[in-house]
């Protein structure tokens, strides 16, 4: 069994040093890894990334993140990733990584994801160049997530995104904006890539629990949704390590 701590949308700014680090004190006793589902910063600036790095540097366990739309706002996502890496935070975009926890291998595949909508109410790769670009971006990041999941050699697979793979966890948000909150292509990747758990953020007004069409549990860990510094999930069973 692996214990995963997860949160998204911490939205740290240059006004927030010292606000998040205290929440992580003792996290090593509770979890084996901390996954962050995007929107670590408020505007995606380097200065904010430095604040995030400072707040996460003290975590006693590995920290793995994906970026969110806020982290892209400053058009400096490469530098943001670099600053986070210096604090030991691994940022995934269409990539995976494997951690060994005791006898179990945990694989995490991460991608920001994108909007586009859900089956039956989604955008199409058709029409104006901007519309096509929008839908194609959604399909591309979903394909990258699928590839990353497929490439993982591990016992337990977890998909980490910022945007939602399912509408279930958006319940509470206005349905009109669902196409801006997630895409069913992400759920296809989660199911096809045989993930055991999918974590996302982005929808502050949504709800925590959902499931893909393929039955994979989905959790919206946006901080306003979970109402705590992080949510904790146990994945796998105790005897999995003996297999």
């Amino acid at each position: 069994m692996i214990r995963i701590a997860a949160v998204g949308d911490i939205h740290l700014g240059t006004d927030s040093p010292g606000s998040f680090a205290p929440c992580l004190a003792g996290i090593g006793d509770l979890a084996d890894v901390l996954l962050i589902a995007g929107d670590l910063t408020q505007h995606g600036s380097v200065a904010e990334a430095e604040v995030v790095a400072g707040e996460l540097a003290g975590a006693e366990i590995p920290v793995i993140a994906v970026l969110g739309n806020h982290d892209h706002h400053g058009d400096q996502s490469d530098q943001v990733v670099k600053v986070l890496a210096q604090a030991g935070v691994r940022t995934l975009e269409g990539e995976g990584m494997v951690l060994r926890v005791g006898d179990i291998c945990l694989g995490v595949a991460g991608a920001k994801g994108f909007g586009g909508g859900f089956a039956g109410a989604s955008g199409s790769d058709f029409g104006e160049p901007l519309m096509k670009a929008f839908v194609r971006h959604s399909k591309e990041v979903s394909a990258a997530l699928r590839n990353a999941l497929d490439a993982l050699e591990c016992d337990i697979r977890v998909a980490l995104t910022h945007y939602s793979p399912v509408p279930d966890t958006l319940a509470g948000e206005r349905p009109e904006i669902f196409p801006f909150l997630g895409s069913y292509h992400l759920a296809e990747a989660v199911d096809g890539g045989r993930a055991q758990l999918a974590l996302h953020g982005h929808a502050h007004g949504g709800s925590e629990k959902g499931r893909t069409a393929g039955g994979v549990p989905v959790r919206n860990v946006a901080r306003p949704v979970i109402g705590r510094a992080f949510a904790l999930y146990e994945v796998g069973t105790h005897d999995a390590c003996c297999s």
């Binding site: 509770l30 801006f180 109402g227």
Partner: protein
């Protein structure tokens, strides 16, 4: 009948002036507040809202002014008579205390040529709808009041505050189906939440109304309230307290100053975008509503400084509008709980 309202109005003004001179905070409530805001003229009694602690002093000064106190058995109000006219001094309407905040939300309006604070239209509907019960649920009285005041009211807040009352829900449903007020977010005013098979909807639910929340104006007609003479306070004010649309591309966001005379829903949309784009706030999830008397912002931000920034940013864009900042700061940190997922 003609004389009764005139007598009532004289008593109303006498009490208001007496309370004002004694500097006792109050707001005109009841059906006269509705009248002041454009509703039908009442013929029964006059209601004032006061904090409970101020009631004894109010009774004293009103008695000094020649009114007659009555001590009623009810524990939520007291009464004074001005001649034959009964004046209620209410401190716990529908079981809720009159608070400083409630009085602060009231607005000075001219009522039959006397300026006095009049209960906020949203508060007024919360009380009025919560007062409906099994024996007193005549929508024939309520609907004209909704018609008269609808664009002054934050209906989302009224829905939230009255959610537990089936009578309030019924009144709001009727008003929504008549397209007097906006449907709750995401719902069609025509009835069924989503466009289902034709048999699921009422015969009148044409395709044009499905999925389009009513803005409270346009086809329903009679949207513009005529305020009582001398008031002028709500004339020309933008209408509809409906939540902002997801976006609008009128291009005004690039101008330094917004055109604040544009319809409320566009203004609300623009303000919402500004709050998302301004680096001091940069919050995409805030809800902005433009009511006739204030700009109302709701939602949650991570830090107190960002909550304050909402006021600062809006004051720059719409300096002449009061801001009702109902944004909360998400500080509640519950202890972690563990869920087994497999």
């Amino acid at each position: 009948m003609d004389d009764a309202p005139r007598g009532l109005r004289e008593s109303l003004k006498r009490v208001a002036v007496t309370l004002k001179e004694a500097q006792i905070p109050f707001a005109l409530g009841g059906s006269y507040a509705c009248w002041a805001r454009g509703g039908p003229e009442p013929v029964h009694d006059v209601d004032f809202m006061l904090r409970e602690t101020d009631v004894p002093r109010a009774v004293d000064v009103l008695c000094d002014a020649g009114l007659r106190p009555v001590d009623p058995p009810e524990d939520w109000l007291t009464k004074v008579y001005d001649g034959d006219v009964l004046v209620d001094l209410i401190h716990h309407p529908v079981g809720r205390a009159v608070t400083d905040e409630m009085l602060a939300r009231s607005r000075d309006m001219s009522v039959d040529s006397v300026r006095m604070p009049v209960l906020d239209a949203t508060d007024w509907f919360e009380m009025t709808l919560l007062a409906l019960d099994e024996r007193y649920c005549d929508l024939g009285r309520v609907i004209p009041m909704i018609r008269a005041m609808r664009e002054q009211v934050d209906w989302t807040q009224v829905r939230r505050a009255t959610a537990e009352s089936p009578f309030a829900e019924a009144a709001l449903l009727v008003a929504t189906r008549l397209q007097l007020i906006p449907a709750p977010a995401g719902l069609s005013p025509a009835g069924p939440p989503f466009a289902g098979p034709p048999s699921a909807g009422p015969p009148s639910a044409g395709p044009s109304s499905v999925g389009l929340p009513s803005s409270g104006r346009g086809s329903a007609g009679e949207a513009v309230t005529t305020p009582p003479a001398g008031s002028g306070a709500v004339t020309g004010a933008p209408e509809s307290a409906s939540d902002s649309a997801f976006g609008s591309d009128s291009g005004l966001a690039t101008a330094g100053q917004l055109d604040v005379t544009e319809p409320a829903e566009y203004l609300a949309g623009e303000l919402r975008e500004r709050l998302a784009e301004d680096p001091r706030v940069a919050e995409l999830g805030l809800e902005v509503a433009v009511a006739s008397d204030a700009v109302i912002v709701r939602g949650e931000v991570a830090l107190e400084t960002r909550r304050t920034a909402v006021d600062i940013v809006l004051a720059e864009i719409v300096p002449d509008r009061p801001i009702r900042n109902q944004v909360t700061v998400s500080q509640q940190e519950f202890p972690p709980t563990v869920e087994s997922v497999s």
